[in-house]
Symmetry: C2
């Protein structure tokens, strides 16, 4: 299966690495909005083209993986490229998924292509686990926790604070909240009880540290509803100790069965990831296999992870899956 | 959707309870090999028929759930009933799944029905998690742990020991092994390092306790490869403290991504279940919804959990799933 990558940042590089692990896949081309001559990729012998030249190369690709951002890139790109080839994106603005789905579905159906949106781990694997667990335990309660991990949005928010030169924010689930959920006690948890936020901030020289800390801690939406800790560190410490992009999280459903709901059950799915973009890429590449297969079967339009049978993701045959993984 | 139950033991009763939680489902009939007049079910107004009379009532049912055992009931029953209606079973003899699949598939295809085998949590939800996680992390290692929970097979084995009146066996995952797997260190674990076995035994009066303990601990296949603890208790203690059928377990895949496999990831799925048969039943009932829908679409033959897109399990519409669970 021939895979194209559009956008060569952290996610694009992660896709490139994931393709290397899958013998039935091949990186066919990378497309960039930068000057192609300025983009050095890891895989030898694979061309880098200008995104503007995509149409001339569309036939060289079975599935195009869109590695842009959800804020402005994907809402525009995914419908456009779904008109030209089979596509996958990792659109993660949950509230705008129905609208994005409709746009991509219309474009893909019109052109006869297959598309998958919102692929990754949340949305993605976490969504799948919510779906399965809700179907199994209709009388129950869902909990999702994120972290410990780096939140790009919150790190950006810190860096916009006056006097801040650089910074990184970790979202951390509260252990007592995890324990309460695992106990099956179905706790009601406030935003503050579920997660804490820890900030590592490099101040500009002479900046008012107390003012920076106050501004961060009182920032509405981002920090004011959380117990937030602010550490001031040097640029060197930031580079040495906080250059990774780890993440992870937990999806629980707790529920009851029995004629009088007398038996309790806890379903837990959790991820501990050294690299958020590389894990996201790995999920996307598994789904690229599925989209390639669905396209070959003639299924067109936009899909989500809910619409795809697990066997489509696997390089194993149906017989191998039944013999070894069932 | 009209559901039939064949076999009214722990699993059949669990299915009955699960149907009650799903508004789009209805228990249509229970079929038994016992005298129907002797079987009292929980749901009012639902008929209990003799299994021998099934054909006369097949048209009253959309999906029949087979609640017999894997050793002798299901290998015979599932192909027979797949000739008469849409069916689901929980066949869990892993080594014989390929053969069972072939038999059920042939019968279902010939009669134009839809069948699902090996549904529950292992095989079932654990299999799904192995499949997804293997597709996402091709460079990695799988670990499955069971428990803490009651093993029916090992409890039966204890009860066959001379001098034993009654008994129950718990399979317990070793905490150090779980911790080692969670750390991402990819340990090689022996059978003994993964699980311990704890036995609660009611001896017959005057029995040789030391001999019972020795016989249990040295029993090949069942106990000799494990660190086993034997507690002697009274029938009253057994009834008071060990009458439940709890179970659960853990599926891990640990793997690496990155150009040089430099980033580690841990995927964990775990279940903590007060009632093994009721949870298994809840999974089966969600898949009964899927099988009813696939049958209505005209898809015939035998399926496994790998072949079914998650959306088929849910009572929500595709729009609701995208808006609320994605």
């Amino acid at each position: 299966m021939k895979i194209g990558i559009l956008g060569y940042g952290n996610l694009g590089r992660g896709v490139e690495c994931a393709i290397k692990q899958n013998d039935d896949m091949e990186l066919a081309a990378v497309f960039t909005r930068r000057d192609p001559a300025s983009v050095k990729i890891l895989t030898e012998g694979v061309p880098v083209y200008a995104a503007a030249d995509f149409e001339a190369h569309a036939s060289e690709i079975d599935v195009l993986i869109l590695c842009g951002g959800s804020a402005t890139d994907l809402p525009e790109q995914t419908p456009v490229y779904a008109s030209l080839c089979n596509v996958i994106d990792s659109f993660d603005t949950h509230a705008r998924i129905p609208e994005h789905f409709a746009n991509v579905d219309a474009a893909a159906k019109k052109s006869g292509h297959t598309a998958l949106i919102s692929c990754g781990w949340d949305p993605g694997m976490f969504s799948l686990n919510r779906c399965y667990a809700n179907a199994i335990l209709p009388c129950g309660k869902d909990y999702t926790f994120w972290g410990k991990g780096v939140s790009q949005g919150h790190s950006d928010a810190i860096r916009r604070v006056p006097g801040v030169k650089n910074g990184k924010q970790y979202t951390i689930p509260v252990q007592e909240a995890l324990d309460a959920v695992r106990s099956g006690s179905n706790p009601e948890l406030t935003t503050r009880q579920k997660h804490t936020r820890e900030c590592f901030v490099v101040p500009e020289e002479g900046a008012d540290l107390a003012q920076i800390e106050k501004t961060i801690k009182e920032m509405p939406n981002y920090f004011s509803d959380y117990d937030t800790t602010v550490h001031f560190i040097t640029e060197e410490e930031l580079a040495a100790n906080h250059s990774g992009i780890p993440h992870g999280g937990f999806v629980f459903r707790t529920g009851a069965t029995g004629w009088n709901l007398e038996n309790k059950h806890v379903i837990e799915y959790n991820l501990k990831l050294d690299s958020n973009p590389e894990f996201t890429s790995s999920v996307i590449v598994a789904y690229a296999r599925a989209i390639g297969r669905l396209a070959a079967e003639g299924q067109t339009g936009c899909k989500t992870v809910f619409d795809i049978a697990p066997a489509y993701l696997s390089s194993m045959s149906a017989e191998e899956l039944r013999a070894h993984l069932l």
